[in-house]
Each structure stands twice: as structure tokens, then as C-alpha cells.
């Protein structure tokens, strides 16, 4: 009886595993792909564009990063802190991951869980970077980390690493 139960359990869990969407099944349209553990929305540039051009009362901090990028990972806690501390000032941080699609399940999602990221994380998967880098900012050469800060009145682009004080100084220019 017991081995049969175990067999059923294994069969059941492997079915569940199969039902999970994987990076392989990713369809590069703008529709978000859901996952049981982490909701990761995946966009091409067209899908990302609305996040960079909102005209509401918020100030948006859009950080381009990847789990394998050491200076990006180093500055993530500052963006998390900013998101928490300045939410009362209508500031919202969006972390745009540039991890390769094959890393979404293996690295990105576990990373988001492990570090309990509270800021919104989305993934950008659009291989023709030459077509969209200039649209995000003509000042961007394409290196990460990079950050866009904007609201309906103002925008600035930074191809650099931040510490918390530098980030605070920049955000203060937007919320006053």
C-alpha cells in the first residue's frame, strides 16, 4: 500500500511540475507570464514602453539590472530602501531584469524569492537592443547597471552605479 501511495505522490507532483510555465514556453508577446511562486511579467520593448512613460503623479525609478551583474546586485538594496522610504512621496521603483530567458527559472525567480524583493520586478526580453536602447535614452551606451528616473515633468538617465546617498540626492530633485 505504502509504495503505491508514494508512486501516486510522485506522479502527482511531476504532473504539477509539468504544468508550470517555463522559460522555454515563453512566447515573446506582451502578455505577462505567471508562475506559481513568483509572478514574473516578461516584456519585449513594446511591452516595456508604457512603464517608461506614465503620466500620473508618481515618480518612477526604473533600474536595469541582472542577477549576474555584480555592481547591479550590490546596489539593489538601495533601490529597495528607496522604494520603501519614499513610497509616501509617491515614488515607485521598478527593477527591469535583463537576465537571459534561460535563467528566469534557474536564477532570477530564486533570486527574487531569496532576497524577498519588494519592488516590482519585470523582465525585458528583446534581443534587438540597438533598436530600443536609444529610445530609453540617447545617453545610454548599453552598459548595466543603468537607471531611469522620471515623472510627468522631468526625466534623467544614469549609466552608473548608485549608493543610497546618491540615489536620495537624485530622487529629491524629482519629488520637491
Amino acid at each position: 500500500m505504502k509504495p503505491l501511495f508514494l508512486l501516486l505522490l510522485i506522479t502527482f507532483s511531476s504532473c504539477k511540475e509539468d504544468a508550470k510555465p517555463t522559460a522555454k514556453e515563453y512566447n515573446p508577446n506582451t502578455a505577462p507570464v505567471k508562475n506559481k511562486t513568483v509572478d514574473l511579467e516578461i516584456y519585449d520593448y513594446k511591452g516595456l514602453e508604457p512603464f517608461l512613460n506614465k503620466k500620473d503623479d508618481k515618480t518612477y525609478v526604473i533600474n536595469f539590472w541582472a542577477t549576474w551583474c555584480a555592481p547591479c546586485v550590490k546596489e539593489l538594496p538601495y533601490f529597495e530602501e528607496l522604494n520603501k522610504t519614499y513610497s509616501k512621496n509617491n515614488v515607485e521603483v521598478v527593477l527591469v531584469s535583463l537576465d537571459f530567458p534561460k535563467q528566469y527559472e534557474k536564477r532570477l525567480k530564486p533570486f527574487i524569492l531569496k532576497h524577498q524583493l519588494n519592488s516590482k520586478v519585470i523582465a525585458l526580453n528583446d534581443v534587438d537592443a540597438n533598436a530600443w536602447i536609444n529610445k530609453i535614452s540617447p545617453d545610454w551606451t548599453g552598459a548595466i547597471p543603468a537607471t531611469l528616473i522620471y515623472n510627468k515633468d522631468k526625466r534623467a538617465f544614469y549609466e552608473q552605479s548608485f549608493n543610497y546617498d546618491e540615489l536620495k540626492t537624485e530622487i529629491e530633485k524629482f519629488i520637491k
Binding site: D128, N130, I133, A143
Partner: protein, 203 residues
């Protein structure tokens, strides 16, 4: 006294503004003459562009071991050298990172990578990080195509290798190949500058 303060303020402003514009202008533009260098290769020998007596030009690639974008392009860089070295446009790769920040890019690691991948092009280390800022490279990979002219090595193309960093088989536009083909045919390069994602050069 007041006048002195005014002058000082104006001088300071001029200085600040020019400092910023200098910062923005750094690096080569199309048509500039690129500097030569003398950098150590993975075989221990020093390499300069002037050593390549019969070359018509160069495909200079700032790249490294540790950046996933650079790694994704390793085979394509090797293929470029295989195709174009014999036609007069060899690949010369330069690793620009500070190896104290990125130990995975130190010379011994570069040697190992070059051996594993069977690189047929020189893979040089920008010891002291003096060369990449003159070119204006900001990331790996970052490509500069130079043509040998009577004035020196003229910058003809800056940017990406092609339009798909994830999948070599899905590439639609081969920017570097198109540029070198145009140079070899004596034609105008259609796309002279492109942008690509890359890892910031570690200082």
C-alpha cells in the same frame, strides 16, 4: 571685491560646464584616428597594431571572460577572426576590466579561456586600464573597426557585433561583417554606429 567674486563664479561655471562637455565627448567618433598600444597577449608576448604589417585594418573587440554578453559572443568573435584575418582584418581582443574587481578576468584566467575556446586572435590585457578610455569603450563586448590609412588607423564602425545577443542562429543583421565587407569592397558602410547591451567595464 564683488567683481572678483563674479569673475570667480563665472570662471567656475565655465569650468564646470566644460568639464561636463568633455566628459560627454570622450572616446572616438567615426573618422577619428585610433591610438596604437603595446599590450600583453595570453602567450606572454607584447602586441601592437603596427606589428600587423599586411593588415588592411582591425576588428578591435573589448571583451572579457566574466560578462555573459561577452561569453555569448565568444564563438562569433572567433568566427570573425577566421573569416576576416586572411582578408586583412584580424580581430584584436582587449580585456579592459580591473582584475582586482573581477579576478575572473586576470591574465591566468584569460589564458585558460583562450586555450579552452581555441582563440586564434590575440587576447590582450589592458594593464593599467589606459587604452579603453581613449577608445571610449564603456562595456563588454564593444567593437571598433579600424581601417589603416596614411593618417593612421581610422575608426570606421563602433558598436555591436550583430542584432541578437542571445541566439547566433537567429541573427538578422551582421553589423560587423557588413562593415568589413563594405571596407573590403571599397564601399560606404551603411550602419556606422550601433548600440548593444553589455557589462560596464569594471574600474
Amino acid at each position: 571685491m564683488e567683481k572678483f567674486i563674479k569673475i570667480t563664479v563665472v570662471a567656475f561655471l565655465v569650468f564646470t560646464v566644460s568639464a561636463f562637455s568633455i566628459k560627454k565627448e570622450k572616446g572616438y567618433k567615426i573618422g577619428d584616428i585610433a591610438t596604437d598600444f603595446k599590450l600583453e597577449n595570453t602567450d606572454g608576448k607584447m602586441v601592437s597594431l603596427k606589428d600587423f604589417k599586411t593588415a588592411k585594418g582591425f576588428i578591435i573587440v573589448f571583451t572579457c571572460n566574466t560578462c555573459p554578453y561577452a561569453v555569448a559572443y565568444e564563438d562569433r568573435i572567433e568566427a570573425l577572426n577566421k573569416k576576416y584575418a586572411k582578408q586583412g582584418y584580424p580581430v584584436v581582443a582587449i580585456m579592459p576590466n580591473n582584475t582586482e574587481v573581477k579576478p575572473g578576468d586576470k591574465m591566468s584566467a584569460m589564458q585558460q579561456r583562450a586555450k579552452e575556446k581555441g582563440f586564434t586572435f590575440p587576447y590582450l590585457i589592458d594593464e593599467g586600464q589606459k587604452i579603453y578610455p581613449q577608445y571610449g569603450a564603456t562595456k563588454t563586448p564593444h567593437i571598433y573597426i579600424l581601417e589603416k590609412t596614411s593618417k593612421g588607423n581610422e575608426v570606421k564602425y563602433i558598436g555591436a557585433i550583430d542584432d541578437n545577443y542571445q541566439d547566433a542562429s537567429a541573427v538578422k543583421e551582421r553589423y560587423v561583417e557588413n562593415a568589413v565587407d563594405a571596407l573590403l569592397a571599397g564601399k560606404t558602410i551603411r550602419v556606422k554606429e550601433t548600440k548593444a547591451l553589455g557589462c560596464s567595464i569594471k574600474v
